[in-house]
Amino acid sequence: MARVSGKEVVDLPSDLYIPPDALAVFLEAFEGPLDLLLYLIRRQNMDILDIDVSEITQQYMEYIGAVEAMRFELAAEYLVMAATLAEIKSRMLLPSHESEDEDEVDPRAELIRRLQQYERFKQAAEDIDSLPRMERDTFSASADLPRLPSTQVHPDVDMRDLLLALQGVLKRADLFTSHQVEKERLSTRERMSAILSQLQGEAFVTFQSLFSYEEGRLGVVVTFLATLELVKEQLIDVVQTDVMGPIHVRARTAHHEASAQADGEPS
């Protein structure tokens, strides 16, 4: 039986009957007309540089003929090669004219060049096939992992991106014209947040404890403004039980706060 390596295909004497099965396998074994030609040349022990064109052409035609007789679909390339061979054969029969230009060379040259070229890559394909290959000649080594600590990587944020986002949203909300946001001192807003986190839980806190004297006059003013704003926004209760007595403050929502506390640990 035929082997796919091409060279060692079952020997089919050109003058003998070719069994149909063998022919099918045989055709599959060839990668095209050049491959078939190489096979024929090797089988005849010819030197590729000194091909007996008429002998090779004759054998080639016999194969083509046999294939066609079996009504196998034959790739057009095989027929083109048949025509090429016929042409070379006829040109070699003609005496070469001296008057022809200097480029006149052995008419076999182009065929030989192509055969050699093809043979190189046919060999190269075999070489590549014999390289040590993953999953056939070796396997990549991998080890399992113990449970990895989950490391979450946070995206970086540029202040400019943040401001651009704000600008976009303010534009949409048309807040530039009302200046609603702009009027407020941010330090007051920050202090409002700070006071609110101080007021976690139900307990009242003395009004004084909101102030820190180390902050100086400005700090006191900011805290005072923040307190007023919180009162205005109804976020805190300010209680004075006795006239001139101590003032107490507590978050308006303190009695519902217990669950929120876990989320918002003051930093």
Partner: protein
């Protein structure tokens, strides 16, 4: 069995475990040997002990799990190895940045108030992401129906942006000039995108 034979079997077992990439039972390991060379279970167990010892001073160790033996990376090296699998952080969405900006400038603010300004709903994911990153926290609840949480920024937020206080945030009046900056950035992004192609 000779020392030498055991060594060779140990190498084959190591190769098999590293190629399998999953635990192999003792019998599965034995099945890589042809019948006439297959070690007895007792010998195989001995080989496993040899292999375990051979993994001292290496990056991996032999571990016995329910379905058999496996080679795994030594736990002590996971801090390094896990960096191989760190996913590149995705960029934050525009919606998240807008929400963050509003919390920064308008704190304390409820989700409803953010939605009012933005004109669209704020997904819980966004709030969760900001809270998980510890840039935003709940500082109280507004005393209105539903008692919505009020959000404020944290010290971590300030630290990240190198601010000593919120008053260091650019005033809103400057933000209008940002239009200029914005165009610049867009232009840069576009030109760098072009060089990539």
């Amino acid at each position: 069995m000779s020392e030498e034979q055991l060594e060779k079997i140990r190498m084959i077992v190591e190769a098999a475990l590293l190629a399998a990439g999953k635990p192999l039972s003792l019998d599965e390991i034995r099945s890589v040997f042809t019948e006439d060379e297959r070690p007895a279970r007792k010998d195989m167990e001995h080989v496993m002990v040899l292999l375990e010892k051979a993994c001292l001073g290496r990056g991996f160790e032999l571990v016995k799990v329910a379905s058999g033996y496996r080679l795994q990376v030594r736990e002590e090296f996971t801090p390094w190895v896990s960096r191989l699998f760190e996913e590149k952080p995705q960029k934050y969405s525009r919606a998240l940045l807008e929400t963050l900006a509003l919390i920064a400038y308008r704190q304390p603010i409820t989700r409803g108030e953010i939605e009012e300004v933005r004109g669209v709903a704020v997904s819980s994911n966004i709030i969760r992401t900001l809270v998980e990153r510890e840039w935003v926290r709940i500082v109280g609840h507004r005393d209105v129906p539903g008692r919505p949480a009020m959000y404020a920024t944290t010290r971590k937020f300030l630290d990240y942006f190198n601010l000593s206080g919120l008053d260091q945030l650019p005033p809103l009046s400057e933000i209008r000039d940002l239009e200029e900056i914005g165009r610049e950035i867009e232009k840069n992004i576009q030109s760098s995108a072009q060089t990539i192609h």
